[in-house]
């Protein structure tokens, strides 16, 4: 408070080296954060961003290097120390108590008390002031489990502000947000910086860095590559620094050559578990071989339930699903899996992987009963190992111990790659991919997009569900927009733009007949 701030930098991390068994996560990294700037930290999965931030937040102790605040060396032993020095962090997976109200979450750990009793009144006043000052719209009395992801994130930000933190770390904050929420967050971040807060913004989304950051430091495979001023750089240069080679942002693909229908959904309805309305209401569409049909929409408009109904994870209340001309409405998941359906699930931890199984065990999750992998009920371990090794190499799945690595210990990107490898390598006519690139870095996204297009060109019908408009625009041959459980429009990506899709996504335009008419042809 009022001391001489004799350094241009509010935080300096000098020559940080952090070693984990078998891997150097941070190798001599220097990061300097100016007061009042938004400083992006860019890098692929496993580049060492999170480790570096965990060092700053006191979760890890570096083997070498020092941290300076306002030019003075400080020692951060734990998150409490970090908090003492005004460092706060919004984690990628929020650290909120679901059954507490927003206000309770904000004051948790620094509860104002008088004679041992909570005095929430003042806290509430302060929270409301802060939320007004920074445009962080929250309802302090709502239960966290009932509010949107965006509001949960704003609660996390308020938590930092309430603790008077002046160095704010955002760990991949946009991964869970809708396009609109991302815009709001960008606005909030600009506001915070204007008020003198210094922001470290961890991400691998280049658009966001270009939109909001002042400077950007790039890490690659644990090493420091450089720091650039955003106004002097381009997306291409940044991605080149990050990946070490040129990355194409637009997927190269030729026009689709749709052939026969592989998936036909007719008047599909799924009832909600919580309310009377159908979460999926009278949905009909077709997917043909050689085309990518993409379902766009804001998360929570029935996309997940639609996919679950098609794949068999959820019960269908009415309507039919046909897979390559075969009515599979009431067939088992195993039947669908073995009759041409591949499914990259939305939630890789819940559905995609058995985390306590090894990588190779996960690779054969739907194929362990194949003649190739078992005889008389006994698993052929050699065959499984060989198959897993093949896929690991072919799809570049990286892990500590190869096929025997526990899935739980792998990075999110590589877990996803393992699922992609498994689903793409299975014989299939229809590929259903839900958020296939969620949480992945540019290099991996490019790779997965290429694979999807390749599948399409090999005559697979692709149903892609994505909440990322860029991905939809890039990959789709046809776009269906879902809003409140219904398909409200069918668009041609060549003839539309993000604004128009956005209007459909928000329910501003409805064109219910778009698909219905076609199926009745």
């Amino acid at each position: 408070m009022g001391d001489i701030k004799n350094s241009e930098y509010v935080i300096e991390m000098r020559n940080i080296t952090k070693v984990f068994p078998g891997i150097i996560a941070n190798d001599d990294i220097t990061l300097k954060l100016k007061r009042g700037e938004i400083h992006a930290l860019l890098g692929e999965n496993g580049a060492g961003k999170s480790t570096l931030m965990s060092v700053l937040f006191g979760l890890y102790q570096p083997e070498k290097g020092e941290i300076l605040k306002d030019g003075e060396v400080i020692k951060i032993n734990n998150p409490n120390d970090a908090n003492k020095y005004g460092i706060g962090m919004v984690h990628q997976h929020f650290k909120l108590v679901d059954v507490f109200s927003v206000l309770d979450n904000i004051i948790l750990g620094v509860e104002p008390t008088r004679f041992g009793f909570l005095t929430k009144k003042e806290a509430r006043k302060r929270v409301l002031e802060l939320s007004k000052e920074y445009g962080l719209n929250v309802d302090p009395d709502a239960m966290v489990e009932n509010i949107t992801v965006g509001m949960q994130q704003r609660t996390e930000i308020l938590k930092m502000l309430y603790r008077n933190n002046e160095i704010l770390i955002f760990d991949e904050p946009t991964a869970v947000l809708t396009p609109q929420e991302i815009d709001e967050l960008m606005e909030i971040m600009r506001g915070l910086a204007k008020e003198g807060k210094s922001i470290l913004f961890i991400t691998h989304k280049l658009n966001e860095i270009m939109a909001v950051a002042d400077r950007c430091s790039v890490l690659r495979k644990g090493k420091y590559i450089g720091t650039v001023d955003i106004k002097d750089t381009t997306k291409e240069e940044l991605s080149n620094m990050m990946v070490g080679r040129d990355v194409k942002f637009v997927v190269d693909k030729e026009d689709a050559k749709p052939e026969d229908v592989v998936l036909e959904v007719k008047k599909l309805c799924v009832k909600s578990h919580t309310h009377k309305k159908n979460v999926v209401n009278n949905v009909s569409f077709k997917v043909r071989r050689g085309e990518i049909v993409s379902i766009a929409g804001i998360d929570g408009n029935g996309q997940s339930e639609l996919v679950h109904a098609i794949t068999g994870l959820e019960r269908i209340d009415s309507g039919t699903v046909e897979l390559v001309g075969d009515d599979v409405t009431h067939k088992s998941i195993r039947y669908k899996n073995t009759h041409g359906m591949s499914h990259v699930p939305e939630d890789r931890h819940k559905h995609g992987l058995v985390l306590d199984y090894s990588l190779e065990q996960n690779i054969v999750l739907q194929r362990y009963f194949d003649k190739e992998f078992q005889s008389h009920g006994f698993i052929k371990f050699d065959a499984v190992r060989k198959y897993a090794e093949d896929l690991i190499e072919q799809y570049d799945v990286r892990s500590g111990q190869g096929p025997v690595t526990m899935a739980r210990s792998m990075s999110g990107g590589n877990q996803q790659k393992a699922i992609i490898a498994r689903e793409f390598d299975r014989e299939h006519d229809l590929l259903i991919a839900v958020q296939p690139t969620r949480g992945l870095d540019v290099g991996a996204i490019e790779y997965i997009h290429k694979q999807i297009v390749k599948s399409r060109d090999n005559g697979v019908g692709v149903l892609l569900v994505s909440f990322e408009l860029d991905e939809v625009m890039n990959l789709a041959d046809r776009i269906l927009v879902m809003y409140e459980g219904e398909i409200v429009g069918e668009l041609d990506p060549k003839k539309t733009n993000a604004q128009e899709i956005g209007l459909y996504m928000a329910g501003a335009i409805k064109n219910n007949k778009a698909e219905g008419d076609k199926t009745n042809e």
């Binding site: 994870l313 088992s332 998941i333 819940k350 992987l353 065990q361 999750l365 009920g377 698993i379």
Partner: protein
């Protein structure tokens, strides 16, 4: 030996070895604390001094070998191995449930149902018509079937209706206890001898008893009256343990069961019938616990107390510590069950021979189990130690 020549390999890189080693550390920790307890007891008892405590400790450690002469040792060994059988199988029952993500606290009930089924069949089929060996087999299988059905009930509630298996297991335990008491009350199966009215007739009364191949004679004292209970049932149990190990680790069936235990949703996604697998897991667990009971009563010399509505058989519950100590490894269960019986025998000897009472050995077992709870922590510590050493090796180079 070839493995040792490569410098990077280390026995503790193997998860199984780590797990076994962690159990050993737990046992040592239990002994250490148990010894301290003995010394403390000695301090407060005028009849016992420090050296008695040391002596007592070694009596417990020696298990049946503290029995004195060779005959007694053999006799106690025989009974120890026989009494390990039900414990081994209930341990296996709990272990396989653990491995598939379930907590089978219903082993006592499954045990009782198994005993009931076996006893009724063993006494009802006249051995004058059917050869005793055949009756023995039918009785054993009936017992296993009864237990499997009893285990499948909590499995059904868990798998289909989502009810926590612990609650249903506890309820089925008491239901089983009451059913068994009710079925046997005033029945023809009760031993008519005045002093034995609380018990069911021994199966040997109908000529049905497990083959011994002279083992009972081998494990016996010099007097012809003190023949031990030893029969082949412990070997049957060990074979079952090996079979379960193979099923869990080598077969597609075991792969499915474990997958459902670890992640029900992913198993469903992969097209497995996760509901059926949960029911099957519990049925197998129930069958195993019941098999333990069946082998115990089929010995032919055991009195089964039928009035059980107030107390559940301890062998059912003791399957839980057996499984814990073995880290739910079926092969480990063989060792942990025999080990716990071994300490038990040592404790009885301690009580019989000294001024200590036998609860001390129970206390030590409890402490060992308590330490077994740390086994995961011990394993992680080993991984960390190992990783640290590897790093040093690297830096050294």
């Amino acid at each position: 030996m070839s493995k040792k020549t490569t410098p990077k390999k280390n026995i503790f890189d193997n998860a199984g070895a780590r797990s076994a080693f962690a159990s050993l550390i737990a046992i040592l920790g239990g002994f250490l604390v148990g010894f301290i307890v003995l010394v403390l007891l000695a301090l407060f008892n005028e009849n016992i001094d420090f050296f008695d405590a040391v002596d007592g400790f070694f009596r417990i450690l020696a298990g049946p070998f503290s029995a004195g002469n060779k005959d007694n040792i053999l006799f106690q060994l025989g009974n120890m191995l026989f009494n390990s059988t039900p414990l081994l199988l209930t341990g296996l029952s709990v272990a396989i449930a653990f491995k598939t993500g379930l907590f089978n606290i219903g082993a006592p009930g499954q045990y009782l149902m198994g005993a009931m089924g076996t006893l009724i069949v063993a006494h009802s089929i006249p051995t004058t018509v059917v050869p005793p060996a055949i009756v023995w087999i039918i009785a054993l299988l009936t017992g296993i079937l009864c237990g499997a059905i009893w285990g499948a009930i909590p499995g059904f509630f868990k798998g289909v209706l989502g009810v926590n298996e612990v609650i249903v297991c506890i309820m089925t335990n008491w239901i089983a206890a009451n059913i068994v008491s009710w079925v046997f009350k005033d029945s023809v199966f009760i031993n008519v001898a005045e002093t034995k009215m609380n018990f069911i007739k021994k199966t040997s009364a109908n000529g049905v008893s497990t083959a011994t191949f002279g083992l009972d004679k081998f494990f016996s004292g010099s007097s012809q009256y003190s023949r031990s209970y030893m029969d082949i049932s412990i070997f049957i149990a060990i074979i079952i343990a090996i079979v379960i190990f193979i099923i869990l680790n080598k077969t597609t069936f075991g792969y499915e069961l474990k997958a459902c235990g670890y992640n029900k949703n992913a198993s469903k996604y992969a097209g497995m019938n996760e509901k059926r697998n949960i029911i099957l897991s519990m049925a197998i667990a129930g069958g195993l616990a019941a098999c333990g009971a069946a082998l115990w009563v089929l010995n032919g010399n055991q009195d089964f107390k039928w009035e059980v509505y107030q107390s559940l058989p301890s062998d059912g519950f003791n399957g839980i510590p057996v499984a814990l100590l073995a880290n739910s490894n079926p092969i480990g269960v063989v060792f942990s069950s025999i080990f716990l019986r071994y300490i038990n025998v040592g404790g009885s000897n301690l009580a019989a021979q000294t001024d200590f009472n036998e609860y001390v050995s129970q206390l030590i077992i409890a402490i060992i189990i308590y330490f077994a709870g740390f086994s995961r922590y011990i394993q992680e510590a080993m991984i960390r130690l190992r990783a640290g050493r590897k790093n040093k090796e690297k830096e050294g180079k």
